[in-house]
């Protein structure tokens, strides 16, 4: 529109002339508008995708269940992205995964870690506990507790009621809440039934979500460690090395602290396990004694404490190790509630889209404006888990969410390699272990190409 070229009718009506602002203002407004518009659109799309998925699963949560039924339970492992905070991953969970689980009427339990190794240790320790229980089923934790309390109470009664010889009974052992509240008069049945108990085959029970490639690695390492590793923590260091450390005295405080830490670990050991081979011990030494830079940059004093638990077994030794001789793996392993343990439950691996670093700003920007694709990714995968679309695990599944490793900052990877972090160590599966494991399908159509074995 050029100057002075206005519709005479508008002019007669007294309307002001319509014209564009100056070029610079045009550029400014269009960039601003475009940016805000694309953010708003992206947000709208994210919400839209999530709402659609939730609506799709919503009918599941309206299923009637008996009052004593505990719904299916998902175990969620969340690890922070490399050189970032756990909050980043938690946000992903809260935004995309949790709403879907809730609208599908699933229960979930979250395990997070602030330092590497916690998830692996938790997973492995659960399996080891089962193995120990299988080894001597009579040993009951409650019993020991009881005996302590009996001792205490008998002592108390001796000191205070010497004149009376009547047997004293602790009422807290005789009555429980159940005896007081009125509702139990209406129905005495107080058995709890878990939905996961009633599944036909163990892989239909529950489910595991690992958010982050690192969480997946630790989860798998934990499974391997629990099944293949020794029951007791192996002796980390040879006494000779320890002595030499002690001889050095206060030369380096860090080394001294480290050796103290090792001492503690050794004292925790009840017996030197014969299962562990010497090559293993040798490999541990560099990890145990090297100066380990912590991720969050904590103070030096906390270093030994801040270090995650060390594995009982390394991937190199998987092939030589015996597969949990205490457990009968031909049948599904059940926990004390009769639910198949997470080893049998289908695993879903979700990658992270966290991209640190200044040089990669363009890609970061791209990801920032297309978060809807992430929403789509998380939602569709979670839906697969909810609807139990799965296939048996194969060696190929080592590569699950491997794309995420491309995003890991180079500097972090380098320092992680230096401290022998398990996120960058060789990641291996043992065929005997993964034979009983299941993976949630990558997309909906997987089901057609990979018919289930059972």
């Amino acid at each position: 529109m050029t100057k002075g070229n206005q519709n005479p009718a508008f002019k007669a009506l007294g309307l002001p002339r319509l014209r564009l602002p100056s070029r610079n203002w045009c550029i400014f407004w269009s960039i601003l508008g475009g940016t805000i518009g694309s953010i708003v659109y992206d947000k709208y799309q994210q919400k839209h995708i999530r709402t659609l998925q939730m609506a799709k699963l919503d009918h599941l949560s309206h299923a009637q269940v008996p009052f004593n039924m505990m719904p299916r339970k998902i175990t969620v492992f969340i690890a922070p992205p490399p050189s970032d905070y756990l909050e980043e991953t938690l946000r992903v969970f809260r935004k995309y995964v949790k709403p879907l689980l809730n609208s599908a009427g699933l229960d979930f339990e979250i395990y997070t870690e602030e330092r590497q190794g916690d998830i692996r240790f938790k997973v492995a320790e659960d399996i080891r506990t089962l193995r120990r229980e299988a080894l001597n089923p009579n040993a009951d934790d409650n019993k020991s507790e009881h005996s302590i309390w009996n001792k205490v109470s008998s002592k108390l009664s001796k000191s205070q009621n010497t004149q009376e010889d009547e047997p004293l009974v602790k009422m807290s052992e005789k009555i429980s809440v159940k005896d007081i509240i009125g509702i139990t008069l209406y129905n005495k049945n107080d058995e709890v039934v878990r939905e996961d108990q009633l599944v036909r085959s163990p892989e239909d029970a529950g489910g595991v979500i690992c958010i982050g490639r690192g969480a997946f690695k630790e989860f798998m390492n934990g499974i391997h460690e629990g099944l293949l590793g020794p029951l007791e923590e192996p002796v980390r260091d040879e006494p000779v090395v320890l002595d030499s450390n002690e001889l050095k005295g206060e030369k380096s405080s860090i080394v001294a602290q480290e050796s103290e830490f090792i001492n503690e670990e050794q004292s925790r050991d009840t017996s030197g396990e014969s299962l562990i081979d010497p090559s293993n011990e040798l490999k541990v030494i560099p990890t145990a004694t090297s100066d380990e830079p912590t991720k969050e940059g904590e103070e030096d004093d906390e270093k030994p404490k801040n270090k995650g638990p060390l594995p009982f077994i390394y991937p190199e030794d998987y092939a030589n190790a015996q597969l949990a001789p205490e457990l009968d793996l031909s049948r599904p392993i059940l926990d004390k509630n009769g639910v198949p343990i997470i080893y049998h439950q289908p695993v879903l691996v979700l990658r992270q889209f966290n991209l640190p670093g200044f040089i990669r700003t363009p890609e970061r920007l791209w990801r920032f404006f297309t978060k809807r694709s992430q929403a789509e990714y998380y939602c569709s995968k979670t839906e697969n888990l909810v609807l139990s679309r799965k296939h048996p695990m194969t060696i190929k599944d080592q590569e699950l969410a491997v794309e995420e490793e491309r995003d890991w900052p180079k500097k972090w990877v380098k320092s992680a390699k230096e401290r022998n972090s398990e996120w960058v160590r060789p990641f291996e599966f043992d065929d005997r272990v993964i034979r009983h494991m299941w993976v949630v399908n990558d997309d909906v159509h997987d089901e057609d190409t990979l018919p289930s074995v059972n």
Partner: protein
């Protein structure tokens, strides 16, 4: 606080013991009834379409009870702290 731990110093008369135990029983039933009431309000819809709980309601009830206990403990803790600091003017 001890629920049915039936705490209380020994060396007291049986009457006092029974009374203390009764107070604790009252506390347990009281808390339970509150819990039933609160969680019903928070979790159970008032349109009675079915006579069973659905999964959402069941999970809601489970979490409601767990959170109520947590709240109970937290409030107890902070009360203790306040008491120790003498904010009520007890210790001053």
């Amino acid at each position: 606080m001890s629920f049915l731990g039936l705490g209380g110093s020994p060396n007291v008369s049986s009457q006092a013991k029974i009374q203390a135990a009764e107070a604790e029983l009252d506390m347990v039933t009281g808390m339970f009834n509150q819990l039933v009431d609160i969680c019903h309000k928070k979790c159970i819809g008032t349109s009675y379409n079915a006579s069973d709980l659905d999964k959402n309601e069941s999970l809601c009830v489970d979490r409601c009870v767990a959170k109520y206990f947590d709240t109970n403990l937290k409030v107890g803790d902070s009360m203790q702290k306040v008491g120790q600091n003498g904010a009520f003017g007890v210790n001053r």
